[in-house]
Amino acid sequence: MSLFSAKGLIKNFHSLRATDNVSIDVNPNEVHALIGPNGAGKSTLVNLISGLLPVDAGTITLDGRDITGLKAHERVHAGLSRCFQVTNLFKDISVMDNLRLAVQAHDGNNFKVFGIRNNERLLNDKARELGAKVGLEGDAVLDSIAGSLPHGAQRQLDIALALAANPKVLLLDEPMAGMGQDESARVVEMIKGLRQHMAILLIEHDMEAVFQLADRISVLVYGKVITTGTVDQIRNDPKVQEVYLGSETSHG
């Protein structure tokens, strides 16, 4: 029984069918990668699953519970958390404040109008712990303004924000996008560590990383999943080579 499953998802934008009857599932502790050329509808699918866009048809279940009708923030509490393709942080506040905001969402009552938040010791400890999980440590880093961090560190922070929910399933939307090789390798290691604790649906362009990490791969083309299989099956699938690998193998 899979931990997460989406069945028959459909999304139309006017006459364009961006998501065409997509079914995808993720097993416990599995990394299921979703690949596909640009414009295949990966981002739309991520938004449908995370609840930022409503589906036209289909059902999404998480741990046996139907979450199709839940709003984005409710899905997070149900155990489905996401990262963003374009790093999506609170750029004008410190790294620590970003982490606090993420921890706070899952920690007690937020209709507290008194009490200075930054002085809450327990919250601060949890925020530091969360930062450490993705390798953001030390006052120098934690006190710097999030938007001023190097790109790689911003991606790490983005992932940390998603981890605050202690998700059962983590949705990673192109975590390696725009990264150099060293940074990429670091994120690969990080994801290897994360999968011990959660299932991961990985949307990624970097084939190197996908082949290293994924247990199964699904290929999305023009809004449809054309095939799902193990790394070897996908590597040797002529259909996949034709639509995807042939043209876009070498991606930084």
Binding site: H73, N88, A105, N110, K112, V113, G115, A162
Partner: protein
């Protein structure tokens, strides 16, 4: 980021409170009794713009209908007086509660919109309140309503006594200002600024953004209602013109001039605006000219408001009205 400035000038608020507390004695001594009422009006204005600053600066909710809530508060008080309540405390509490309910209902609709659409829909609701007030013949229609029932604070204290009312307003002013300043550093305040900066990410973190914004909108608006009830108590008179949209715009300009999203911004703006509006007409009949010139100068040279000139907080911490308008354009 507590810079040295905050520590060095920690005595300023205390000095301000002492000066304000001593003002009625001072004015009485020098025969300037009239100005006790003026300072009191200024403090009520400061309460109102502080609540607006919370919505505009910290919440990023650029609402152009704040005067509507002042109106709801004032007319709620009128209705309660007509119903036979004379205790000022109960009247203020009732006016605040009724405004909060009104704000919740209006918020449910307007918070579904963003940016310029939010601005227009808050304006539309405030105008509705205005036309309701104009058509309320019972409460004087467009002539306004004159309070003729004597009110009481209880224990023999009379709100018609300027100095008594002044003391209560001063206390309310300090409490309201402390409340909002405390709130922006609280968990709730941080979620509100988080939603202002990045609503999508806040949803992805698991925050019910609509509900949180609604709570903030109700708090900010209810305090405007309280301000309306206080104005009513001081002036003994409410006219629908108070609710007119130009008044909402004036409040917005006050916050923007002072510094939107800065703790002291709205206070500074209200002080400056109130004093100029009081004294310029004594100097010249054409007092709108220097006032307009001032606004233009501030927009040109301090687009984030006057407080931004002295504050070490970065401008990005606050939205800034003019930045907002530029974003929309």
């Amino acid at each position: 980021m507590p810079g040295n400035t905050t520590k060095t000038f920690a005595w300023v608020p205390l000095l301000g409170i002492i000066l304000l507390a001593g003002f009625p004695y001072f004015s009485e001594f020098f025969g300037l009794d009239y100005y006790t009422g003026f300072v009191m009006r200024l403090m009520i204005l400061m309460i109102i713009v502080t609540s607006l600053n919370f919505l505009l600066g910290y919440g990023g909710m650029i609402a152009l209908g704040h005067a509507g809530f002042i109106g709801i508060g004032s007319y709620a008080m009128v209705a309660l007086v007509e119903a036979g309540i004379t205790s000022v405390w109960l009247l203020w509490l009732g006016a605040t509660a009724i405004t909060a309910i009104g704000a919740a209902l209006i918020g449910l609709v307007v918070l579904r919109t963003r940016g310029i659409y939010f601005l227009m829909s808050t304006l539309a609701f405030a105008e509705m309140v205005y036309y309701v007030a104009v058509s309320l013949r019972r409460y004087g229609g467009d002539d306004g309503y004159i309070l003729s029932t004597p009110l009481t604070f209880g224990f023999g204290f009379d709100p018609m006594d300027t100095n008594t009312l002044y003391a209560v307003v001063l206390a309310a002013f300090i409490l309201a200002f402390a409340f909002f300043n405390r709130m922006v550093d609280s968990r709730f305040g941080k979620t509100i600024t988080g939603i202002r900066d990045n609503p999508v990410r806040m949803q992805a973190l698991g925050y019910p953004t609509f509900k949180l914004q609604l709570q903030a909108f109700v708090i900010g608006s209810a305090v405007a209602g309280l301000g309306g009830a206080m104005m009513m108590t001081q002036n003994g008179f409410i006219s629908p013109t108070t609710i007119h949209w130009t008044h909402s715009a004036e409040l917005m300009v006050i916050v923007a001039l002072g510094g939107m999203g800065y703790k002291w911004g709205a206070i500074l703006g209200a002080g400056l605006w109130g004093v100029l509006k009081e004294f310029l007409p004594q100097l010249t009949e054409y007092w709108h000219w220097p006032m307009g010139l001032l606004v233009i100068l501030i927009i040109l040279f301090a687009p984030n408001g006057l407080w931004a000139l002295v504050s070490r907080e970065s401008a990005t911490q606050s939205g800034g009205l003019f930045k907002f308008i530029r974003r929309q354009a």
